[in-house]
């Protein structure tokens, strides 16, 4: 058996059900790695070791008395530090929330606890999931386990880094423009932004409510499916929550992608936001894997990236300003410089422009769904491999085209999986985008790809 901390959720769950692995043993293995190695990664801002040990003991006793109540029973996990956890500090890495201890769990935490999961602690994020990386906020930024001089990207930085480092097999993040997929890409793991409304954001500190998504990150797509099963579903306390039937995501992982039609937005990749030659080469190899599995690939035309980015960012900066207006007016010095730069001009956006952005968003979402009515999936790189962890001018948020934000505008499910490694040993990434509420096909494709390639066999060494 592999070292316990490196087991996937699926593997650990199987072993726990067979009584070959104790949740206590698994939790101790994770806590040991966090204690000895996280000083190099800074992926956790709060470790709930004693609580985790108690939850693991309770899980073990319950399982020994009968059987696991779910695939997550006795499985350790962690949460981005914007998910409310009753009695446990939730800071969003901000000096503004240094002493914030919620009285109630977020919806997602309630679901994971009900499934029998073991909470290890809270993960580093960019400040309020938007400004970063920053060195002038409550905690230092997380580092990339593949190369500690590199960034794990953001904003779900610590979540992705913790999974890649073998500190936890599962975590949740949030994604308003790519904040699950970017870190998943940089850290070589799987991360899913579900369809808008599929997973409740109740109790998740907001970035931009009209485009916020909560979702899972894990080593494999199969594990992402297990986590999604636990957290998906209607919540009347989230006004954006969708009341839809939740399929069996694990049952969808048939291993077959035969007959699927994959669209590639060639204009984006050749003209509007061309990735590096190495990233494009890795992408072409990934497409060939799908061709070899029986899928077909065709070029598609999407609206310009700049239109998606404009709609996304005008909505985001307006909503972010509204959320933080009181603090920006009264104590602007408590914000990190990166976040303050990225939201303060939102107070000067006119209502007319905000509404024009909503109109544009609707138009773009319709056009995106029209393309996805002709193909089953879209594929493109998620991002370039990780860059150095160093201060970034906050204006890059406004000036750099995004390969991920379009799918927040459209609301579509989008998964990032590892698609190999560059010459420095840093992960490449593949983004798989599906039709609204068709997570099953997205996950099926990601799982089939991972099982047809050797990338899940390699872990960061440090």
């Amino acid at each position: 058996m592999r070292e316990a901390a490196f087991l996937t959720v699926a593997e650990a769950s199987r072993l726990i059900a067979e009584r070959k692995l104790s949740p206590v043993e698994l939790t101790e293995a994770c806590l040991r790695r966090i204690e000895t190695l996280d000083n190099q990664i800074d992926s956790f801002v709060t470790v709930t070791a004693e609580r985790a040990r108690a939850e693991a003991r309770a899980a073990e006793a319950a399982i020994m008395a009968s059987a696991p109540k779910s695939r997550l029973h006795g499985i350790p996990y962690c949460l981005k530090d914007i998910f409310d956890t009753a009695g446990i500090r939730t800071t969003a890495m901000s000096k503004l929330l240094a002493d914030n201890v919620p009285a109630r769990d977020s919806h997602c935490q309630e679901r994971l606890a009900a499934a029998g999961g073991v909470l290890l602690g809270k993960n580093a994020t960019w400040e309020f999931a938007h400004g970063g990386p920053s060195w002038d906020i409550l905690f230092p930024p997380a580092r990339n386990p593949w190369d500690r001089s590199c960034s794990p990207s953001g904003s779900s930085s610590g979540s992705a880094a913790a999974v890649a480092a073998g500190f936890a097999p599962a975590t949740l993040g949030s994604d308003t423009g790519g904040s699950i997929r970017g870190p998943a890409a940089a850290c070589g793991i799987a991360g899913l932004k579900p369809t808008y409304g599929l997973v409740s954001r109740r109790g998740v500190l907001p970035n931009c409510f009209s485009q916020d998504h909560a979702g899972p990150l894990a080593w494999t797509t199969e594990d992402v499916a297990i986590l999604l099963q636990a957290i998906a579903g209607h919540d009347p306390e989230d006004p954006g929550s969708a009341n839809v039937a939740i399929p069996d995501y694990l049952a969808a992982l048939t291993g077959s992608v035969k007959g699927l039609v994959i669209g590639v937005p060639t204009e984006w990749l050749e003209k509007e936001a061309p990735p590096s030659p190495a990233t494009m080469a890795a992408f072409e190899v990934a497409l060939n894997v799908f061709r070899g599995l029986g899928a077909s690939v065709q070029a598609v035309t999407l609206p310009a990236i700049e239109q998606f980015d404009d709609a996304k960012k005008i909505l985001a900066i307006s909503e972010l300003f509204t959320i933080h207006a009181d603090d920006l007016r009264k104590r602007p010095e408590l914000f990190g410089a990166s976040l303050r730069y990225r939201i303060i001009a939102g107070g000067l956006v006119r209502a007319e422009d905000y509404i024009q952005a909503i109109r544009l968003r609707t138009e773009l979402a319709r056009k995106l769904q029209a393309v996805l009515s002709r193909v089953d999936l879209l594929m493109l790189p998620t991002a370039e491999p990780a860059k150095e962890l160093e201060p970034v001018h906050p204006s890059t948020l406004f000036t750099q085209p995004s390969l991920t934000a379009a799918f927040n505008v459209g609301g579509n499910p989008a998964l990032s999986v590892c698609s190999g490694f560059d010459a420095r040993g840093l992960p490449f990434s593949l983004q798989i985008v599906g039709r609204l509420f068709d997570e099953a096909t997205v996950l099926r494709a990601g799982d089939a790809y991972e099982k047809a390639t050797p990338w899940r066999d390699k872990r960061p060494v440090f």
Partner: protein, 67 residues
């Protein structure tokens, strides 16, 4: 405001938004607003009077409050 606002214009706009910022933060507001103006200029388009998705209001979402 179609022409490029001066720094003083931006200070005035900020005050109208309730932002009486310390002087040290004004350069970042002025620079960031330059980026925002470029984006808002691009989304302004002539649209039909009925093209108003912001008016969408989903009454069903409030049904639980009636119970």
């Amino acid at each position: 405001m179609s022409q490029t606002p001066t720094d003083d214009d931006i200070v005035q706009l900020a005050r109208q938004a309730g932002l009486d910022l310390p002087a040290e933060f004004m350069p970042e507001l002025i620079e960031a607003y330059g980026h925002v103006r470029q984006m808002t200029a691009r989304v302004r388009a002539a649209r039909p009077r009925g093209d108003e998705p912001a008016h969408v209001f989903v009454a069903a979402a409030f049904r639980k409050d009636q119970r």
